[in-house]
Amino acid sequence: MAIPKVMGTEIEYGITVKGDPDFDPISSCVLLVNAYREDHAGEILWDYDQENPLADARGFQVDGEKYTPNQQENIARNKTLVNGARYYVDHAHPEYSCPEVTNVRDLVIHEKAGERILEASRREANALLPEGTQLLLYKNNSDRKGNSYGSHENYLMDRRTSFKQIVECLMPFFVTRQVFCGAGKVGSENRGHPCDYQLSQRADFFETEVALDTMVKRPIINTRDEPHADREKYRRLHVIQGDANLSEYTIYLRNGVTALVLAMIEDGAVDRDLSLRDPVRAIKETSHDSSCTQELQMDDGKRKTAVQIQAEYLEMALAWAGRQSLDPMQKDVLTKWEHAVEALGRDPMELSQQIDWVMKKALIESFMERKGLDWQSPQVEMLDLQYHDLRPDKGLYYLLERQGRAERIVTDEEILAAIHTPPPDTRAYFRGECLKKYGSAVFGVNWDSISFGVDGEPIKRILMAEPLKGTRAHVEELLESSPTAADLVKNLRA
């Protein structure tokens, strides 16, 4: 029986300062992240003690230096938010890691809340910049000059499912899922074959099948084994293969379908061998074919299109679903996945209000036709970039949304509420509510811990190894009966 798929996303945004030739990304990121103010306003550390990014899921520890900033730098670069998210500076990019959620609708809401939070801090930061300059943010994954930054998904998995089994069952799915969750890109880079337009922002950057790296020689399946939870019971599958999506529908399918397939793998329900001869090559071939008709070389000698491979996963999912009691949202994901696979098999352009890469392509083609432009023209490159612009009045995705050309999954009210409200049904609830209530007493935070500095006593660290504990149902009463952090610590000991 598969375990609940607790999940979250970490999105790195592109950043630039228009009108500043000496723009420095790192100081701009620090300015941006610190421009965002919440009421609790304590100086809270990110607790690096609990981290181990060099553990490999294949069972070994990789050599390397663990990054640990000094206290002042730590506080300047890390913000933990009252909704349970982490908003911080990662290398030269602002990054938003949404709180843990139990379902894909909440995931869409919280990923979208992240866009609003970055846009709010962008406006605040701009007030501090010299006149004539403007800080801009992009929810994308590439500068189209060979530099890529990631958007990662995380899924809680059962430790009993072997990593080898995950890799085998997942690889063909990951190579081909871009047909319904690519964010689209004009041209190619990183020595990729030339093309006008491709499905994925990221496909050009994958150079190997399975590895620990994320910044060089990027793998399709990442082996980082850092569960941020009880490691005897859980894995956290750290997915680096996806694109940063704007379309709610696309985000919903990306995480919703992936969560279903992972549950199927835990249940042993991915029982067809769909191995590809050369996954690294196939992921690029799939991306470079916007007709979705290119056949990929399978390991058994047959050839199948990416859509046919997705259709096989879908068939296995429908058979598996018949033996489960899926909740209504999981059933809805299945229905939408089926719709997408069928439409992609007929004509991908049917999904011009649902799937990012198709939405962007339709928009660019309308513009090109009217203006007599070709794929190489700078305006077309500009459209590609501006699709991802976070300014509501400038971003082309938001323009489509305003015009009713983007099918929505959630409401603006839900997104706005999530800026200040943690999900009620994971440990993010405890994290967020503690920040709201005891902000000045919180010393440090990590995904699986929160520590308090109370009345000059030694720091008290509360461990949260179970992502599904610390929910509203579990701790609301405890929080209500603890007016101060000292009371909370005392009550937890009792």
């Binding site: 890529s148 930054y149 009217r370 500009m382 970039l385």
Partner: protein
């Protein structure tokens, strides 16, 4: 593009000719979406839909024109990021 083909079909007068040739080929135009069942109302409806779609796309392009970053060439050239993750 597909819509335009459908609109053109009746004007080209190919339907009756196909129909006269033999029974088997009679099915062919149906596949294209311009079947006999739709009769003369079909193309008009399609033309209206096509016009509406074109108007909508024109409105979209106009809006994009208004918000598109100026000096596109320089802007995209200057958009350089450090690798991340």
């Amino acid at each position: 593009m597909r819509i335009r083909n459908d609109l053109q079909r009746p004007d080209r007068g190919e339907l009756p000719i196909y129909g006269a040739a033999d029974g088997e080929q009679k099915q062919a135009p149906k596949k294209g979406g311009g079947g006999e069942a739709e009769g003369s109302a079909g193309p008009k409806k399609m033309a209206k839909k096509g016009e509406k779609l074109k108007d909508e796309m024109d409105a979209l392009v106009d809006e994009i024109d208004e918000v598109l970053e100026e000096n596109a060439e320089e802007f995209v050239k200057n958009y350089v990021q450090r690798g991340g993750e």
